[in-house]
């Protein structure tokens, strides 16, 4: 991983009480041709990472889009950073979204912009151009994902794994309070997947960013739940069998529009539910 240890910087919170969850879903329902999410409720406490799992089409990505206010639920309440996104107008959600970073499944990089312009997109919106300070922050974010040398390239010139890493750099450049990862390792080879997961773990442990991560890869989920980022060694290391260290990582398992499990990796592994046993096998 990176030879340069990242500078620890805590984002300024929009909510005054630290004990308040950064994301709350209360009886959220949404249907398209058929019901997809049926009365789901959960909370994401500050500094915690929740891994959303479930078979394809169970509505994992939908939960991320609902949290971001990109979609409106049919029923229920969603509160993000103290603001009820289900009540605010679309115009007012833009301000809220500036405190949330999202890594899309297919990266969603702007193909007509360079890597630097993509990563600096939010900052350029505020200043209108790339200043020396913005350039330095872009390099810092790209250094975090080890892609400093790609600054002048276009997304089409990058591999799939590199595009995901640029998407992570774009999401973290403003040090958001919440990070949403939509299958960041989907379709990647195991080595590249491990690199991406190491970046996610690094973001979790170094910046203590609250995050929701959607994945279909059990291996990635358990790696996150069993490893931590060691700043001394500047790499991800196993937490050990005792797992004394609290990694602030929990699992949520979706089935038929409802959560059938919420808990730690150890609790998941101990579950006797036949569906969960089959899912894990």
């Amino acid at each position: 991983m990176s030879s340069l240890a990242p500078q620890v910087e805590q984002p300024e919170s929009r909510i005054s009480r630290p004990e308040e969850p950064v994301i709350t879903f209360e009886n959220v329902e949404i249907a398209f041709d058929h019901p997809v999410l049926a009365s789901i409720s959960f909370q994401l406490p500050r500094g915690e990472t929740k891994i959303l799992m479930g078979t394809a089409g169970t509505g994992k990505t939908l939960i991320l889009k609902l949290a971001l206010g990109l979609l409106k639920p049919d029923a229920g309440r969603i509160t993000v950073l103290g603001e009820e996104v289900t009540q605010v107008r679309e115009q007012d959600r833009f301000e809220l979204r500036r405190n949330i970073g999202m890594v899309f499944q297919e990266s969603a990089l702007f193909d007509s912009l360079t890597v630097e312009e993509n990563v600096a997109y939010r900052l350029i919106e505020e200043t209108g151009r790339i200043t020396d300070e913005i350039h330095a922050r872009v390099l810092e974010a790209l250094r975090f994902v080890e892609l400093e040398h790609t600054v002048d390239l276009f997304p089409a010139e990058l591999s799939g794994g590199m595009r995901r890493r640029v998407a992570i750099a774009r999401a973290i450049i403003t040090h958001p309070e919440i990070l949403l990862y939509d299958s960041p390792t989907g379709g990647l080879d195991p080595v590249t997947s491990n690199t991406i997961i190491e970046l996610v773990v690094k973001q979790r442990d170094v910046y203590q960013t609250s995050s929701l991560l959607v994945t279909n890869r059990l291996q990635d989920a358990f790696t996150m739940a069993s490893h931590y980022f060691d700043r001394e060694q500047n790499k991800m290391v196993p937490a050990g069998d005792g797992n004394v260290r609290d990694l602030h990582t929990k699992f949520l398992l979706l089935r038929d529009g409802k959560f059938i499990f919420e808990g730690t990796a150890a609790e998941l592994l101990r579950s006797t539910d036949p569906y969960i046993r089959e899912y894990l096998s």
Binding site: K65, L68, L70, Q91, F94, E95, L96, R97, R98, I100, M102, F104, Q105, E106, A108, L109, F110, D111, Y121, R122, E125, G128, R170
Partner: protein
Amino acid sequence: MPVFSPTEIAKEKVGAVQDYSLLAGQSLTNIFQQPRYFADTLLQADSVGVGSLPIVILTGFFTGAVLALQTSSTLQQFGSLSLTGKLVSLSMVRELGPVLTGLMVAGRNATGMASELGSMKVSEQIDAMRAMGVDPTKKLVTPRVVASVVMMFFLSIISDLVGLCGGFVISYFLLGLDPNQYWTTAYQALRFGDVFMGLGKPVMFGFIIASIGCYYGMSAKGGTQGVGHATKQSMVAASVLLIVSDFFITRLLMGFFQY
């Protein structure tokens, strides 16, 4: 074989009209709100205006030329060949200049906008923009609408002028008309109402072209096939709406100027 409910189809159509109206309205209200994207508007103005210039000049010139050619035999029968300039001038300024320019710009730019925004939509770039706190209607739609409205105004003027030149070439070289007579009748034929009609229509057409192109792009779904469908639909809808609105604008202005 699936059975389509007429109620569902009607709901879908009404929903589409509602979505289009909201987007079109928002593209206008954004002009009075921050942030304003001047650089993007200039970029679009270059793409719509300068980019469409060659096709507008070509169609304008040959439309004026063919108009002079077609009408000359009829005018000659009544001994009124000297009125060729007047006829070309009125036809180009009031009708053919704005409409043909509109159709050319629709063919080039409404489809371009639909495919560009459609590609961004299906690859989640528009969602990414929203996720980063940027309003896509302000960033993508309003600059295109403003640029199209302004550029259609100037492109129509150019088309009218080039069309008159086309008519002049035929009148002078083939019909043997006096240049002074051609230009004098062409100039004197125009009243304020004609010029107003000729300059008012392109503004409306520019708005239709850009808002339709952006609407189909922003509502594209279903991958590359969906983008292709949106592009095709944008061309059809923009052209039809342009011709239908031309009729109503003409009728309205004819009543207003008491033709």
